[in-house]
Structure formats: C-alpha cells, structure tokens
Symmetry: C2
Subunit: 382 residues, 2 copies
Amino acid sequence: MVNFKIENPTTVHFGKDVMNDLGNTIALYGKKVLLVYGGGSIKKNGIYDKALEQLKSVGAKVVEFHGIKPNPLVDDVNEAAELGRKHDVEVILAIGGGSVIDSAKVISVSIPLQTSAWRIMIGLDKPKKAIPLIAVLTLAATGTEMNMFAVLQNEEANKKIGYGHQMMYPKHSFLDPQNTFSVPRDYTAYGIADLMAHCLENYFGKGEATLSDRFVHSILNEAIEYGPKLLEDLTNYELRAKIMYAATMALNGFTAYGREKGDWGVHAIGHVLSLLYDTPHGATLSIAYIAWLKLHLNRTNERIALLGKAVFGSKNSDETIKHFESFFASTGCPVRLQQAGIESREKGKILSTMIKNKVNGGHHKLSEDDLRELVDLMDQPI
Amino acid sequence: MVNFKIENPTTVHFGKDVMNDLGNTIALYGKKVLLVYGGGSIKKNGIYDKALEQLKSVGAKVVEFHGIKPNPLVDDVNEAAELGRKHDVEVILAIGGGSVIDSAKVISVSIPLQTSAWRIMIGLDKPKKAIPLIAVLTLAATGTEMNMFAVLQNEEANKKIGYGHQMMYPKHSFLDPQNTFSVPRDYTAYGIADLMAHCLENYFGKGEATLSDRFVHSILNEAIEYGPKLLEDLTNYELRAKIMYAATMALNGFTAYGREKGDWGVHAIGHVLSLLYDTPHGATLSIAYIAWLKLHLNRTNERIALLGKAVFGSKNSDETIKHFESFFASTGCPVRLQQAGIESREKGKILSTMIKNKVNGGHHKLSEDDLRELVDLMDQPI
C-alpha cells in the first residue's frame, strides 16, 4: 500500500427533493450566479424551473450559459468563462451530467486566471483560485460530482484529455435520483458501463490495495445486480438511487486509495472514439474494455480471474471476460465498433489517431502493436 | 435508501512517515498548541519525540495535558480544557488512540464554550465553535480519526456515553501504520474486534442500503483475512496498514450512508462492562456481540445468514454466529464474561446497571427480559 491523502471537500446532498436546499446553499457563496447547462433537457423535465425557483428565493442574479455538448468542447468553456468574468460572478451552478459539471470545473478555475481553458488542461497555467462550484447532477455515470477531475475535447488540437486539481472539487453536489428518471434507457446503460469502467481502471492500476479492491468488487456487484433491473424500470426511485450512489463511489477516491496509480488506458482509447465519431463516452468504454481484457488475457491473467471470481463467481479469466461481454451486451451497450455505427474501414484512422495522441495506460503499457491488436479486437465479429 | 449528506472535512494523511508533514500542518492553524496524550507509551516508542521535533521546527509553544485513561474520563477533559483556556491555545494536537482523540474532540468544543464537558455530552450545551484539532493515531480501532464522534465516561454519573457534532471532526489525522507497531497482541486484537463491531452496528441498523452493506462485507473480509496474520507478525507494515485503513473505513460514514440509523445496542452493552470493570472497549464488544447475535438468531435470521454467506461463506445464521465466535476466540478476544475476568456473581449488577442506564438498540429494541437473557448468554459456558 502506498501513502495517500484523503482530502475530499465536496458536500454531497443525496436523496429525494434535496434541491430544496439549493438556494440557501448557493447564497452561502454569493448572489451573482453563472448557470451552466447542456442542450436544454432540464427545461423539459422540470429541473431548470426548480433551480430557478431556488435561485429566485434567495434573490440571486443569474447569467446563463447553455449548450455544453455531451462530449464537452474547450471553446464552450472559454466562452462561458468570458461570460462569467464579464458579469463578475461569485458562484457557478452547473446542472447536468459529466460534460456540464466537468466544463464548469474548468470554468471555475479559468475565470480568475484569465487564461484559455486548454492552457490549464495541458498544464501550462496552474489554477490559483476557483469560483465556488455547486453541481446538480442529472446523470449517474462519471462520478464528477465528488472528484476533482474534468475531461474536455479540443477539436482544433484533435484531442480529448483529462485534468484534475484540488481546487476543482464542487463545493456541494445535489444528487436527487428523481433527476435521472428521464434519462433514456441507452444513456442509463452507458452510465452503468462508465461507472463499471472507473472501477476497472482503478482495479487494473499499479500497486496492491486490498480494501480498495474489495470496494471495486462491491460497486461492480451493485451495478451488475441492480443495473439490469433499473433498465426495465427507469422511474424506480430505489434503483435509480442505487446506481447513482454507485457511480459516485466508483470515482471519488475509495476505489484508488493505497494504489500507486490507476491504469486509464481504456479511457484513453474511448476518448479517441468519442473524438472521431462523437460516440457517447460510456459506449466507447464497453467496446474498448472487452478488447483490452482480451489483449491482457495472458498478461494479467490471475488478476482478471480473481476479479471474475469475486464479481461473477467465474472460474477463470477467460470466463470472466465472457461475463463482462455478455453483461454489457445485455444492457444494450455496444461491445464492438460496428454496434456503435463505426465501420471496419475506419480502423486505420482510429489507429493513427491513437498513435498520434499517444494513447497509453498508466500501468499496462500499450505498444503500437498492442494498439493495432486492440483495434482489431474491437472490430471482431460478435 | 434514505436521504443522507456526505460532509467529511477531515484530511487523512496515510502512510509511512507522514508525520514529517505534522509541523507545517499545525502551523496552518496557529503556534500555541495544547498537546494531549495518554499514559506515556508515546514516550517509549518515539512518537512523542517525533511530534516535539515537528512542533519545534515551526516554533510552536506547547502546553501538555497527559494521563487520558483508556476508558476516558470527563474530569480529565474538563481539566485539559481549563489548561487550554488558560494558555489561549490555537490548536490541539492529540496523539493516541480513540480515548485520547475522543477526549480532544470534546476539549476542542468545550474550550470556547467555557462549559463542562458533560453538559455538551448530554446535549445541554451546543458547540458553537471548535479549536482546530490535529490527530496522530497510534491504535487502529475506533475510527475516531475520521468521524465526529466521541465517547466519554462519567464516574460520578456512572455512565459512559457517546456524542457527535459536525464541528468535532479532526481537521487532519496522521495515520502512520508504523505508529501502531508497538501495540501489543491483545490490544491489536481488541482493535480488530472494535472495527468489526462498527461494521455490524451499521449492518444491523434500520433501512436498506445495499452498497453500504457491501462495504460492510468488504471491511469485515479485510479484517478476517488479514487480522489473524497481523497477530502473528505485529511489525509487518503492510498488515498494520490494512487493519489501520479498515478501521478508519468502518466508521467514517461509508458503512452507514443510506440507512435510517445504525443499531449501537451492543456498544451500549459494552460501555456498561467498561464502566463497571474497566474492560477494554474492544474486548467488551467481542463478548457482547456473540450474545447479541444469539439473542437475535430467530429475530433477524435472514440478515444474519446473508452476512455470514458474504463474509464466511456460511450456510445459515446459526453457522454465521459460530464463525464469528470462533473468529473472535482465535484472535484471543474474550467471548464470555469469565474470559474478561468477570465472574457469574456479577450478573445482577451488570443487569441493574444496564437497566438504570437505559441500554438499548436504535433499531432492535431490548426489553428487560432481553437484557437478562443477554447477560445469561454472556455468562454461558464456552
């Protein structure tokens, strides 16, 4: 077990109607609010109205930035930060899933720095302070609500990368499972694949951390037991709550503490698919993880087998991979490129982008030959 | 799943030589330091010297209060608080196990309130602010290092009770597994029983919280797998680290979130034994839990069986209890009163104190008949 620090300052408000405390919580930080959201689904499902009511109740002045894309773009972040600067905002309220909250995290540190978001993402400018960020989560998936990480896409640079800084934790995150009732079946499944992938990236990282491994098993078991039930009953509060909490716990530190590092090779692969084909993040991971596991079948055999034993009761690593594949497939997540509408002739382009963007794992290193094999495995017949 | 809030402000510094950051961390809060510790074992094992060196390196002025008892007394807390007031301390540094850190938590809120600690413990005076508390943990057991709870004993009132307040979280806790190397075998085992009991108190609480249940399984499995190995190899860093981290995770919220409440009936029973016979806390719990499980064998049968299946692979609730009993016994923890040197003729006194102190569970209610049966079960031949 390596040394680690637990320092997670986010207050999570979890449960039914927790948004009733949103106004008073925002008022702790100021009255000039930058409201950030996505394509407008929050106007259809009533969350926008609830938030505005809360903001009004404390006399907040609101400027809005909307239109954050599901694969969030750095240009939007820059535009939103400029708006925030112009209005001298004191608080940011982000309502949405991972893309919106990730964007808001980078907005929160780029407003005071007066710099472009991409310079922060690539480490050229270091955050010095942050506008306090309050998040209302509408999608159980990325875990962004209780961590310091953000992923953004830069179309100009043709890159999608992650960045994290201690100042980027939301001050408060409001998690009402009811706010995920209107997430359609497919995106609900992508969220489940995403939270499971976060467990796996940590599990296949470097260094022994037995209790963190057990938490990985716990969260995977929760997703595998209740995920399929939720997909048959999308407005079931208890099931939405279980998956929402599992997603938060998958990436708030407790699957990682004591390890030297996570792997994150599969996320790097997934980001290339999102970049090239705008494939939803979770759907890239179900494809890429199956290929990655097959590539590593004889490299990290025992660890794959132990995982499968704990999670599926499977007898060996081969069986473990089959379980993961059939689980993802049963939830409607793609496990091959063609299921995400990506044809075989794209293979060369995927590989060259992977190589150009230096796709690799933090622990399990991927050579060019490995990347080629991974692309072939993602394109295998089912 | 009921609504809950995750709001844990403690920064945990976990690992080898983390005390190297102690001085700078203390200096963030001030230079006038109240140092609180127990019977002086920290002078023998070098931890005291390390701490003083750190304090000196940042020019801190230190006043000391020592002599906190293993079952901590409210009178000591009052005396330490008076000392802190007199010297106008800005920071409290607590070095020790649960008793020292619990005492320091109450000292931290009673200094500014200028009231007796017992009035805070029984809810008559509410904390308004707290002197920042930094903890250096020397015993893996109670989990106090990352929660807001404290247990104190009042000899005059003949009571041992718990109290918690959001202001009572340590600001920082330093957890170096090396600092537990000199804990003897018996107290190491009591610590393991204590952390397991925290899992069980939460597990047998009220309300369904499936992921928190899985975390309970995880932590119990960790203790059951590595606890006995540690008892054979007391200066093994990895094993000390595993048990130390498990103890922290057993009572920092993550075995509880989503439940209506924990039970805590067994702790209430254990406190009576500590009060009457000064029995070490963990040793009271191994005795009381076996009796409690037997009493509840036919009352919460399925839940006991499910736990045993997940933790021991046992087939039914009866077998589960036998597993717990033989596990505790194998670690050298008492599972009957006589093993803790408490004779059968004490039964009446134990029962009357239980009744007088209104011993009960938060979820599983205990009648006078139940308490009588529990005392008999604790006194059963082995």
